[in-house]
Amino acid sequence: MGKGKPFLEVLASAIHEDYRFPFLEIFAFLYALGTFVFASFGVSITAIGATSQAMATANEVIAYGAVSSILSLPLLILIILVFKNIAYGLGSDLEKGIIQTYFSYPLKRWGILTAKLLSALGVALLLFLGIQISALYILAPDIILPQLGTVFLTYAASLSYPLLIAGIMLLLTLKLRRGGISLVVGLVLYFAMSMVSGIATIFAIFTENPVSLQIISAISPSLVLQQYYIASLGDFWAPALSEVLLYTGVSYVIVAAVFALGYTYFSRRLNL
């Protein structure tokens, strides 16, 4: 048996467990419907007036507004799917001893975890981004094609924090060997961010000091991106594109570090 075959076996088994019929179809239906229902070009129009103080051009603001509008509820649906896959998919495999069966395959441990994450995260992200970007292209090709950079940057900035929580959940699930608690922690962390960023925003506006927002942007760069495109918090913080890219890069370094910890724990410390 070649090296690729056991990897495909684990991947196929993980996909089969994570996306039982008709869950994948229901999520695809919700993403497609949600994208059109939540798409709005109106928000960006009011923002065009603010471009004089923001750093972006009007077309970039329109593209950013359109992507932000379709990210609202569909992103929450994606997060629920990913959290469910990691907490319950991996958690139940650990609880039921299925992972031990995988360990008997001629495959390194990191290969097994990669297959599980490809199913839990990769397929979910592929479905989500594929449907959303295609739907945006159907709606407004002349906004999306010339502003592909803005579209991808908005997705990258918005997905960074959910991916960080997914990484934390992976660590927790591996440590506790069950998914229930890590799922609760993941959901609490996700909703806590909106409260923390709200407090940080009030603090920054009153003190006219963006430090609190800059700290949060390092783990949730959608905040710096919003300030770059629509400057909704005022002119005390006018980040340049390089600053947005820096914060997004830093956030992904943190995400990569958390996943690397997960891989290290799974490969070296996980005793079953």
């Binding site: 495909l8 196929a12 996306y19 019929f21 008709p22 994948l24 179809e25 229901i26 695809a28 239906f29 919700l30 497609a32 419907l33 059109f36 229902v37 798409a39 709005s40 070009f41 109106g42 960006s44 129009i45 329109i62 479905l127 449907i131 739907a135 159907i138 709606l139 407004a140 090709p141 002349d142 906004i143």
Partner: protein, 193 residues
Amino acid sequence: MKRWTTVLGRVGTVLIAISLALLLVSLIPQIQMSRREGSGPLSPGGIRIVFNQQYLNPQQEVQVAVTVEGTLTVYLLEMNVEFQFVNGTFDYRFNVTDLQELLQEHPDRVIWEREVENGDYEWSYIPTRVMNATIVFYNPSDSETAYVEYDVALKSSLAPRDKVRTIAYFAAPTGIILATPWFLNVWKQRKQK
């Protein structure tokens, strides 16, 4: 069951789910945002602005219905015209000279141009980006007055209905073709059990 049958089958069922969502989107009725009706003569070489929208977005559609006696050129232009107060009435700050200048110097701003003569006509337009839009009637005749009756409606929808429906009509049968072998296999396996 062969793995490829399962993969293609699930791709097919996802395609069916997406096309159902698209069909549902196309069935949600449009909302009328504004409507402008009017009629009257248009003198030789004269123009009339019948529609002006500062921001027309891809979720909006302009529907134009015109009945003409005489000759008329209808322009959909990508521009915004301002209102001004002249001789006790409000009117657009745009005249024949401005139109001719725009046609010569900025032909890229003409989204479409229709020459019509004695009859009923209907058009619609859905933009693919956020833009300004103005519909102008122009009587190109040197001597004949044109009589025009028009109805311009601005409607809002979730997505361009025809485009979305066409994609659904292609995606659904493709999905059914891909999913059928998988469904048959699953059914056979259940029957055996």
